[in-house]
């Protein structure tokens, strides 16, 4: 799943640890999501979207067949 979490976090001037603390996961989880190595659960996706005050689909972009992952 593609996402622009890193850009949004950078724009907000937050570290991975700050964001992790805000949504109650480990820093490694935020790092894995940003590197697109881990797709968050729906619950965490909602938390992240709420944190950045946007919709889930603004944050995450599913890579369907034929698109780059």
């Amino acid at each position: 799943m593609n996402n622009d979490l890193r850009e949004r976090r950078d724009r907000a001037g937050l570290s991975q640890a700050d964001l992790a603390a805000a949504v109650d996961v480990t820093r490694q989880t935020i790092n894995a999501i940003e590197r697109e190595r881990y797709d968050p659960s729906l619950e965490l996706a909602f938390k992240l979207a709420a944190f950045f005050e946007c919709r889930i689909e603004d944050l995450f972009h599913p890579a369907f067949d034929g698109e780059t992952d």
Binding site: A17, A20, A21, A22, V25, T26, R27, F52
Partner: protein
């Protein structure tokens, strides 16, 4: 936009500390248990081992917050799948080889090996029961 606060940061830091403490208890208990067995103190070694185990679960269940996040659980699931795959390969190949060498009188499979293979069978039986139980609940 929401902002992080000190209490959430402290919670994450506490989670990390508790996790280190949990696995530290197990590591120290196992090391001490082995050392005590080596120095001919098997009962004391076993007691230390159990203190470590109880401390591990005491910290795990005694803390109010969750010590693992969803990625930890996802990693555990994937690691379990890989483990079961390896166990299945060992059982399929190992059991067949054991039956063949016995049937052909080439080698007498030691009880330890047969015991291990039956252990794998038991593991898959438990997996089957757990899977059926979870399916019935979902």
């Amino acid at each position: 936009m929401s902002r992080t606060n000190t209490s959430t940061t402290n919670r994450l830091s506490r989670r990390r500390t508790y996790r280190r403490l949990m696995f530290g208890c197990i590591a120290v208990a196992v090391a001490l248990g082995l050392a005590l067995r080596f120095f001919d103190r098997p009962l004391l070694g076993e007691a230390v081992y159990w203190i470590g185990i109880l401390a591990f679960f005491g910290i795990w269940f005694g803390t109010s917050g969750s010590l693992f996040d969803e990625r930890d659980r996802a990693l555990e699931r994937r690691a379990s799948q890989v483990t079961m795959l390896v166990a299945a390969a060992v059982l399929v190949v190992g059991a067949s080889t054991a039956r063949l060498v016995t049937a052909l009188d080439l080698y007498e499979v030691p009880p330890m090996i047969s015991g291990a293979l039956y252990g794998y069978v038991a593991l898959f039986a438990v997996f089957g029961v757990a899977y059926a139980w979870l399916r019935s609940r979902s």
